[in-house]
């Protein structure tokens, strides 16, 4: 793999295990076959120690994944450990030795996550559609249970089998044992005393104290009667007698229907991942299915979302563009002001002007949210002499406030980069303009500004992309509010797309979780940002740097 001729032989690993022993310097074959010359390098020891740790952690992870039955994670862990061993113990993988650590993190926490976002965007994942169909059926049957009237009770013993709680009952003189995951089955060699199981091979009978300690576990335990969940399960309330409970819903795998046995209503499985009756009623637990472009249709077409979405999209662009323009103009103006070597104390001015930029963004936003408070804030109370201007609660003023705070936060950055750009302008060009008799204004318009824009435009565009997703500022300052009056979803006038995604996802607890729609909106943002970035890259020819 490494095609670099000069680096083959001793090119092995970043910790430097093999010395300059082999290859191009014409050593004899015997020399080369010797494993190491002289004492073992400390690097080798470090490498072996590190790889031992990696392998140990890997084995631990693999075992844990096996125990949880999580095959996807298991496969990834095996792959990571195998690749790591191959890379660091083979001599043919030099570049990978340097790239692998970062690459592993990148693959798991960025590439996979982005891909997963893409997948979720096409599903109905969220509240009510959280899991697979089998799990949804199971949850529905459990939720809708009732005690079978007139059914017999069983003498019951609580047992612990391999760490899992279970019941041992006696039915028609036969001892049966089961746990939550393992249906009741006959255990012929269990000891039955006075019509009650007292001993079970391979399991311990819980004492009265143990039962009291684990009371809630015992009373919520359901031990299925058979593999068919429709048959019901054994439960207990006093840990001494068990009763049979059956679901009021009857699951028919062949017809793919749920039947409510009390009312006779039939719920059919639909393609959107839930059970629906003929009169349009739905059972409250559904499952995850692919819904195609539905989430995108909701974002653009459903009136609950579409109207706020368009408003928020427009405001996101306005916010990002106005932020860049306002900070750039102020920063440029200040840069020009101090770009005169005759001004005394420039260094002090500059240092003081950087301060807002050195304050972490979240602190600044929180600070301003207090200062702009309508009733008690510094701006209203002191600067405006007790006025009650609704800075953060009026739709337009809130937008103005967001822009104002972002101007305060962002102008020092623009000031810095404009200063840098002005100082690196080629002197001869300016000289030439002077010699040609151009006025100061003309020089500025036709020479300085264009050169300045060329130098700063990539930064302006990345600043745009940054502000496009400036979640912290919006969330900390206004929380997206004031809320839209007409919308049923928790969105507001200063929400930008990324904060809309956050609200829609429901992860902050203000709305029902809707991972599918949130991911679809993420994809929309990604497409916008990627388009803009792609244009930038083309302009700045960054791709051509790769040679």
């Amino acid at each position: 793999m490494p095609s670099q001729p000069t680096l083959t032989g001793d090119a092995t690993d970043p910790t430097g295990t093999t010395g300059g022993t082999s290859g191009p310097r014409g050593l004899s074959a015997r020399d080369r076959d010797r494993p190491a010359r002289g004492p073992v390098r400390p690097g080798t020891l470090v490498k072996i120690a590190l790889m031992a740790v990696v392998n140990a952690l890997g084995v631990f992870g693999v075992l844990a994944a096996w125990r949880e039955g999580h095959m996807g994670i298991l496969a990834s862990m095996v792959a990571l450990v195998v690749v790591a061993d191959w890379v660091y113990f083979s001599k043919r993988t030099l570049p990978l030795k340097y790239i692998l650590p970062g690459l592993a993190f990148l693959l798991v926490y960025q590439v996979y996550v982005v891909g997963y976002t893409g997948w979720v965007a096409f599903t109905n994942y969220g509240d009510g559609h959280n899991s697979t169909k089998e799990q949804a059926v199971e949850a529905l049957l459990l939720q809708n249970e009732r005690r079978v009237e007139g059914s017999p009770t069983y003498p019951l013993t609580v047992v612990d089998r391999g760490g899992a709680l279970g019941f041992a009952i006696v039915e028609d003189g036969e001892a049966m044992v089961g746990t939550a995951d393992d249906p009741l089955s006959e255990v012929p060699d269990a000891t039955v005393d006075d019509d009650r199981v007292t001993e079970v091979p391979g399991a311990t009978v819980l004492s009265r104290q143990d039962i009291l300690r684990r009371q809630s576990e015992v009373t919520s335990l359901r031990v299925p009667v058979s593999d068919d969940p429709n048959d019901g399960w054994v439960r207990t309330q006093d840990a001494r007698t068990g009763f049979l409970a059956t679901p009021t819903l009857q699951w028919d795998p062949e017809a793919d229907t749920m039947t409510d046995v009390t009312t006779g209503t039939v719920y059919e499985a639909t393609s959107d991942g839930s059970f629906r009756s003929d009169d349009g009623q739905r059972l409250n637990v559904g499952w995850r299915v692919m819904v195609g472009l539905d989430n995108f249709r909701t974002a653009f077409g459903d009136e609950r979302y579409a109207q706020p979405f368009v408003k928020i999209l427009v405001w996101t662009f306005a916010f990002a563009i106005l932020s860049v323009v306002s900070t750039f103009l102020l920063g440029l103006f200040l840069a020009i002001t101090f770009n005169d070597t005759r001004v005394r104390g420039r260094k002090i001015y500059r240092t003081l002007l950087i301060f807002p930029y050195a304050i972490p963004g979240f602190l600044a936003a929180l600070l301003w949210s207090g200062m702009l408070n309508r009733s008690y804030g510094f701006i209203n109370q002191v600067l405006l002499g007790g006025a009650a201007v609704p800075w953060l609660t009026d739709p337009w003023l809130a937008k103005l406030s967001v822009l104002g705070v972002n101007l305060w936060l962002g102008f020092p950055y623009m000031f810095l980069i404009c200063t840098g750009a002005l100082q690196s302008l080629p002197g001869d060009v300016l000289e030439a303009a002077k010699v040609d008799g151009a006025s100061a204004w003309r020089t500025w318009r036709s020479v300085t500004l264009p050169l300045l824009l060329v130098a700063t435009s990539p930064l302006l565009i990345s600043s745009f992309a940054f502000n496009f997703n400036n979640f912290t500022l919006i969330y900390m300052l206004t929380g997206g509010g004031p809320r839209f009056a007409d919308a049923s979803v928790p969105l507001g006038h200063t929400d930008i797309l990324i904060s809309m995604v956050y609200s829609v996802s429901g992860l902050d607890g203000t709305a029902a979780k809707n991972y599918g729609l949130a991911s679809a909106l993420s994809i929309v943002i990604f497409l916008i940002v990627a388009t803009i970035s792609a244009i930038t890259f083309k302009r700045t020819k960054q791709f051509e740097e790769i040679s």
């Binding site: 092995t12 970043p14 992870g61 002001t337 002090i348 840098g420 992860l507």
Partner: protein, 302 residues
């Protein structure tokens, strides 16, 4: 960055200098610049002065903080001891430092490989990095959350409510954002140096650790700092991942104070804000010239 002579920089508001220039001309050419400068400095600093004053006010309420420096008391700072603030600050520093160090180590190693070795997949690798960095990790927070739920079932230390998991998530963004910044810088170090070291019998690892890394220290400092600063202020993923109060970072904790009871917690918040701004501020002022260099190379504060 700036070449001002020492004597000139020591005074901020010099009087008109009649020896060199008549007063009218001074006003027209330089005086207005000082006027603008003073206005800009006031604009830039008054919120900072305000928060310092609020942190020193006795009552600790929003209303009570409006009179600047009416009282000077350390009661708010003392009250921080009764909260989880110091735990949060410790968490933030741990997470930000670990992320900063990890980012530098992994980013520099990858940049070295891309800059010095020629291997199959190199161009594809660089191009993919460029494309991947367009997708901010923050955008995929839903998927990050779901991934951590799954991982947490298997290895709790990598799941929700673990600082280690949060660091791992942040490190996932390390390569995409920083490799290019570093790659460009590595390319400016002449290859002859590597070759000379090689001829002297150094392994590639020795070359990397003892020669190249020393020469690229400025870019390492920039990347470590920017990574530290953006991690310190990161909110959205930290909020999702760190669920129990003891594990919160400063950003999550202070947001909790302000969003819950703005009026009553204001003094506490102000004191906490002053303290948590200090590490970043100090780094910034001392390493100004590195940061400015890094900024113009294309990084944006988070």
């Amino acid at each position: 960055m700036v070449t001002t002579d020492v004597t000139a920089s020591s005074s901020t508001a010099p009087g008109p200098d009649e020896h060199r220039m008549p007063r009218r001309r001074w006003l027209a050419e330089l005086g207005w610049r000082h006027l603008v400068g003073v206005v800009a400095v006031v604009y830039a600093l008054f919120p900072i002065v305000y928060v310092i004053s609020a942190s020193l006010s006795e009552g600790g309420t929003l209303t009570g903080s409006n009179q600047l420096f009416a009282q000077v008391s350390t009661s708010n700072y003392e009250a921080l001891g009764g909260t989880l603030f110091w735990t949060w600050l410790g968490n933030s520093l741990q997470i930000a430092i670990a992320t900063g160090v990890g980012t530098v180590l992994m980013g520099a190693a990858a940049a070295y490989a891309f800059s010095r070795f020629r291997f199959t997949g190199r161009r594809v690798g660089l191009t993919s990095l460029l494309i991947i960095q367009m997708f901010p990790q923050m955008l995929a927070f839903v998927a990050v959350f779901l991934l951590l739920i799954a991982l947490g079932n298997v290895v709790p230390a990598l799941g929700l409510n673990s600082k280690l998991a949060l660091i791992a998530v942040y490190l996932g963004g390390a390569l995409g954002v920083n490799t290019f910044l570093m790659y460009g810088f590595f390319n400016t170090i002449p290859r002859e140096l590597d070759e000379a070291a090689k001829i002297d019998g150094a392994t590639h690892a020795q070359t990397y650790w003892t020669i190249i890394l020393r020469l690229v220290t400025p870019i390492l400092a920039v990347v470590a700092l920017l990574s530290f600063i953006s991690t310190f202020g990161e909110f959205i993923i930290a909020r999702l991942v760190l669920q129990s109060e003891r594990n919160w970072t400063v950003a999550v904790g202070l947001y909790g104070w302000v969003s819950a009871l703005l009026e009553a917690n204001w003094g506490l918040f102000a004191a906490g804000a002053v303290i948590s701004a200090l590490p970043v501020l100090v780094l910034f002022l001392f390493l100004q010239k590195y940061i400015v260099g890094g900024l113009t190379a294309g990084a944006v504060k988070g």
